[in-house]
Amino acid sequence: MSAITTDARPAEAETVGRRPARKPTSWLLTVFVLICVGYFLLPLFWLVVASTKSNADLFSSFGLWFANFNLFENIKTVLTFQDGVYVRWALNSVFYAVVTSVGAAFLATAAGYAFAKYKFPGGTALFAIILGAIMVPLAALTVPTYLLFARAQLTDTYWAVILPSLVTPFGVFLMRVYAADAVDTSLLEAGRVDGVGELRIFFTIGLRLMLPGSITVLLFALVASWNNYFLPLIMLNSPEKFPLPVGLAQWASTATGGSGSQALFSTVITGSLLSVIPLVVAFLFLQRYWQSGLAAGGVKA
């Protein structure tokens, strides 16, 4: 039930089965791309190998191959160091990511739908302002936002990290394009004729049609939130509110000198490996949603 115009190929289609079978396989191309894939996977391979080593082995063995197998001790250290704060960080990351991505996706979907399906006074101006905001370097806003939050006594709270991340101008843009494409106005009119309220139409008809697009926005907001370093670094003081990137960076920096230094390398490395796994898994399972959402946005841009 693709919502995209019928003369385009359904974006969820996979290569096999939809293509004319007569296309020859170019082994040259395949090999070349696979070599490039090696480049992309190399650091991750290092990460896996390094996670199996103890601190001592890390400094004295060849980086890209194994030494003594220490993975389970490393994992245990990661999960129990500093009273298990890593688990707390992981839960924080999940919390931030889920709340932010769902919130951002919902806000963007609602706004995008409104811009696409209603021609209301001020709509064009508002949309232009929102688009303009894509140009504003969000990272350059972080410091003033921090100062504002400090005045409002909201720093070092979960809101301090969630609120700024709920705004996704690009998400609104994407959803507007998607809504224009995926939501047939005649369906809405039919609802109106039946006397259904506008908001109800949105929730029951519009939202369902825009779901793949919403999930795309959700996914990108998810990644942005999971990987966010700068914003939580500035906003948060208490380690129990840190997400994983900030916590890991703090561990990494305890090795950098002065009294109280601890060389935490194997812990940081194994912790990093564990932090990458959830997103990889999420992507594996949610692959098919990216394309249909992005397809409309990309082509119509």
């Binding site: 974006a11 170019s26 609602a110 100062l147």
Partner: protein
Amino acid sequence: MSTLVDSEPTTAVPTRQPRVSASKRRQYGAAYVLVLPFFVIFVAMIIVPLVYSGYLSLFKKRLIGGTSFAGFENYIRALQDPLFLTGVGRMAIFLVIQVPIMIALSLFFALALDSGMMRLAKFSRLAIFIPYAVPGVVATLMWGYLYGPDFGPFAQVTKALGFGPPPFFTPIGMLFSIMNIVSWAFIGYNMILIYAALRSIPTELYEAARVDGASEARIAWSIKIPAIRPALLLTVIFSVIGTFQLFTEPKLMFSLAPNVIGTAWSPNLYAYNISFVNQDANYAAALAFLLGIVIMIVSYVVQLTNQRRERRS
């Protein structure tokens, strides 16, 4: 079932009516309600800090003497500040070299995957995309290790061959080292954007060419690429914005090469250090504002160039 709620007749062409119909008013209302949540937070998190930033940038704070009004002093200082200017210049070089290479590679991989001439396409697609899912902190950690001049694998290989370690951490080398990390992380992301656009191209557009015997490469060049021009433009603009905002990678590379990175390797890093190390939020605000203006100008130029090219073709 249900009857019309309001007593006024709805019309098919409300814009011709001198008075707005109730149905339209209901729709406007709904539109505002739907846009409101986003917009309120948008104003609070983007507009207000922006204005506050502008306000702050007009003041000056000293350790002795406190805060005082300074007019455009901070801006003049920033425009003459060699650290800021070299940071911006460095980002411009970064932009001119890294973005085209990255987009070109993303395009190449997307086309390769779309061509259907590959085995293990799905695996490759996922593998190239995975780096995007890796937090910048972890990516810099991994590459920082790989770049190590004594014990990193590349150095070990070159040493075994009799050369010195590869110059990853010289001032010029650092530029490429960080370019590499950013490309590694974002080629997959851009590839997916382009790939999605490619998959939306109606097949009829190039079936004819295929029947005529055109090679896949020819089809890619003459048909597919022009068809996805808007998507390409999008990826370029995002890359422009992202490049000028570079922060995480230089900050984390600092411990590996503190004298090459310094305090101002990227303008964003500089603003952060000015704000938090020098305790000078006012000057940092001016820097941030200027940076924003630079980004807007460059993005605008990119869009203009694209429009001009489109008009010509």
